[in-house]
């Protein structure tokens, strides 16, 4: 799956999860930049991404994520 495609799919998940159809993802985006991205929604995000991409993450991998760019790289590495 090309990186563009990952971003496209991920954008849909973010938009639905954070109830913001205008949300645009960039590699540098962090939890602080997105309204509602708390620890609860972070777990929801992880579960939704696991389901959408058919991958599994460990707690360590999830804990180390600094921004969207790293999340995409993590997904890419699992596909």
């Amino acid at each position: 799956m090309a990186r563009d495609e990952i971003y496209r799919k991920l954008t849909h998940i973010f938009q639905d999860l954070f109830d913001n159809p205008e949300l645009v993802l960039s590699p540098a985006l962090t939890a602080n930049d997105v309204d509602g991205w708390d620890s609860l929604n972070h777990v929801r995000l992880v579960v939704a991404v696991q389901k959408a991409f058919g991958v599994k993450f460990s707690a360590l991998e999830i804990g180390n994520l600094a921004n969207v760019g790293e999340f995409v790289e993590l997904i890419e590495a699992k596909l």
């Binding site: 159809p21 929801r44 579960v47 939704a48 999830i62």
Partner: protein, 643 residues
């Protein structure tokens, strides 16, 4: 796709519309009747994110002070040994499905006993109608003591006392009903197979606690939410997600949240006395495999010894066991009444008999009209009905015209019909009394047929929504086998019931004096394949309709109108002056007795054997008034110059 996906994905509900997010965001665009629109959105199989989207709209509706009528309000307190933040929005959204405007009062995390015991806790101040007591094995004092019988008994008694104190605490300061969760066992064992036999293992302790909880509920107004059974149904190793527990103390994998929420809400619905009370059954390919009108008593498949027959048998057994616990059974089938009753009366493998069916509607009207008649006859609301039908377009019709009726989606495989119906939980019961046992018998005047009101008015709009495409081809090599099959199998919608061999069909296709049509139909539910065959023979400048037959699966779709228009247009091109049709009666084709009359033909002759001849003058025939809600495609025809 995993087997338990049936439960996890709420497979009995229709998939959400493609533009769910957009519909959801615009659901409050007008303040008028948001409750009904929210309920419609919730009636689909939604995942966790979609449930949350919907719950946010409910919160917005409350903020703006919109009335959610006709939804009925219900206040639920949530106390849990785990995180409830996940659960509350899913419950609020799922409750809409059951016509309930749910408000959740959540206890702060970790305050399981405090909330129940303190007189002015958040939960009690909210004055809930019910309180969900959601304990997880990790939040109860369930210390394993393998092999120590006395210690194990003490542990079980301690946990049960703790839970009893919580319930008593709630009752002391409120009128709330307690919904008490059973405990899902962990997927990991201690010794292995020995666990269940060894007092003091976690498995042994939890089993004892669950049984104790169940007996403590009996005779009270409190209710059991059997989460242990739910977890076992989908599999313990799937139910428990160590990752999600470790990350956020989510007590079960959140992929099961839609299922869990549906179980909580169906219980609340049952508590309110709103569970469904009548199961309306289709016959052909639902109660048996095959079409009784075409295949006959010997041709339908039902009963032991055949996997498909056993699949349909289990549908009948499920219906009968529902009847034994008070659910009323009815039939709605597109059939002749006498023919439809035949298997009930004479087929030895049938488990269901006429005396089990309170209302028996077998006719050629649309099923919406029939369901309304059934509800009226039984003095039940449409919201008490569940309609089981293998045909997706019949399901679509009822969902569109009678949204109050529950219409479970069915999988391709009839082996799963019974399981899907029961997984839906439409008949959830919170009590079982002697009256329930006998209720179905109160409808003594069994297997009645009731008069119909006029046809449901929105059928045309529904047909337009099917996006039908009809395709016309002359007989050809590819279609020959299926054409021959239809010619030899169709009994009901068959004007002349002339049978031809494959060789004869080939010769007809090559005869320059024959005009032939094989007709296909697709719609939004998929391809129905070849559904009609017509043969016209030329003689003295007229067309004699030798054969006109159609699959009953597409009855009521105006396919015959589209075919007539095709015939008339083609007849004009070829300079044909009249189309002459014959109806030759058989035991099974009464359905089409008035076929030509309905299409504007006039009768020219009626013979002693019942055969009737009809004719249509091609020049003056007007097909423009016939509603034909479909796109027409043609292929394989030679261009014919007018004579």
């Amino acid at each position: 796709m995993a087997m338990n996906d049936l439960h996890t994905s709420l497979a009995w509900l229709p998939r959400p519309p493609q533009d769910f997010t957009t519909l959801c965001l615009s659901v409050l665009a007008s303040a008028e009747d948001p409750g009904t629109r929210l309920q419609w959105l919730a009636s689909h199989a939604l995942d966790e994110i979609q449930l949350n989207q919907l719950a946010r709209q409910v919160a917005r509706a409350h903020e703006r002070g919109y009335s959610l009528a006709p939804l009925s309000p219900f206040k639920l307190g949530l106390i849990s040994t785990a995180n409830t933040d996940f659960i509350a929005p899913a419950l609020v959204a799922t409750a809409l499905r059951y016509g309930i405007a749910l408000q959740c009062a959540e206890a702060p995390f970790g305050q399981f006993a405090q909330q129940a015991l303190l007189p002015d806790s958040e939960i009690k101040r909210a004055q809930p109608d019910a309180v969900l007591i959601a304990a997880d094995y990790r939040g109860l004092p369930l210390r394993p003591t393998p092999g120590e019988v006395a210690a194990a008994e003490g542990t079980v008694a301690g946990v049960l006392e703790h839970l009893a104190a919580v319930r008593e605490g709630i009752k002391r300061d409120s009128n709330a009903i307690c919904l008490v969760q059973t405990i899902a066992r962990p997927a990991e064992s201690c010794f292995g197979n020995l666990d269940l036999a060894m007092p003091g293992t976690l498995r042994h302790l939890i089993d004892a606690v669950n049984r104790g909880m169940a007996s403590s509920i009996a005779g009270t107004e409190d209710l059991l939410l059997d989460v242990a059974a739910l977890a076992e149904t989908v599999g313990l190793a799937e139910w428990h997600s160590p990752l999600e527990w470790n990350l956020a103390k989510v007590p079960f994998a959140s992929m099961f949240l839609p299922l869990y929420a549906d179980h909580v809400c169906r219980l609340i619905c049952a508590l309110r006395g709103k569970s469904r009370r009548c199961l309306v059954l289709d016959l052909d390919n639902t109660l048996w495999s095959g079409v009784i009108g075409d295949d006959g008593l010997e041709g339908i498949i039902i009963g032991q010894g055949d996997p498909t027959g056993e699949a349909h048998l289990s549908v009948q057994q499920t219906a009968l066991s529902l009847r034994d616990r008070g659910v009323v059974l009815a039939v709605s089938s597109k059939n002749h009444d006498e023919i439809a009753r035949l298997p009930f009366r004479t087929h030895p493998e049938m488990v269901l008999h006429e005396e089990h069916i309170a209302v028996f509607q077998a006719n050629w009207n649309d099923k919406a009209t029939n369901l309304k008649a059934i509800a009226e006859e039984l003095s039940l609301g449409l919201d008490a009905l569940v309609f089981l039908d293998d045909n997706p377009s019949e399901r679509g019709l009822i969902r569109r015209l009678l949204p109050q009726v529950a219409v479970p989606e069915l999988p391709e495989d009839p082996s799963l019909y019974a399981r899907t119906l029961m997984a839906s939980g439409y008949f959830e019961a919170v009590t079982f009394s002697a009256e329930d046992k006998n209720r179905a018998d109160f409808y003594r005047d069994n297997a009645r047929r009731v008069a119909l009101q006029k046809e449901a008015s929105d059928v045309d709009a529904y047909l337009a929504s099917l996006e039908m495409v009809i395709s016309f081809r002359p007989f050809d090599d590819v279609g020959r086998a299926r054409i021959t099959q239809l010619i030899n199998k169709s009994n009901q919608f068959n004007l002349t019931t002339r049978r031809y061999t494959e060789a004869e069909v080939r010769d007809i296709g090559r005869d320059p004096d024959c005009y032939t049509l094989q007709v296909g139909l697709t719609d939004i539910y998929g391809n129905n394949g070849m559904i009609s065959v017509v043969i016209c023979r030329r003689g003295c400048g007229d067309w004699h309709v030798d054969t006109w037959l159609m699959s009953c699966r597409v009855l009521g779709r105006r396919v015959e109108h589209a075919i007539l228009r095709e015939l008339v247009e083609e007849a004009r091109r070829r300079g044909i002056s009249r189309i002459i049709g014959a109806y030759r009666p058989t035991k099974r084709n009464k359905l089409v007795e008035d076929h030509y009359a309905k299409l504007g033909f006039s009768i020219t002759e009626r013979c002693e054997d019942g055969t009737a001849l009809w004719q249509l003058d091609v020049a003056s025939a007007s097909c423009d008034e016939l509603p034909i809600p479909m796109i027409v495609e043609r292929s394989g025809f030679d261009v014919i110059a007018a004579d």
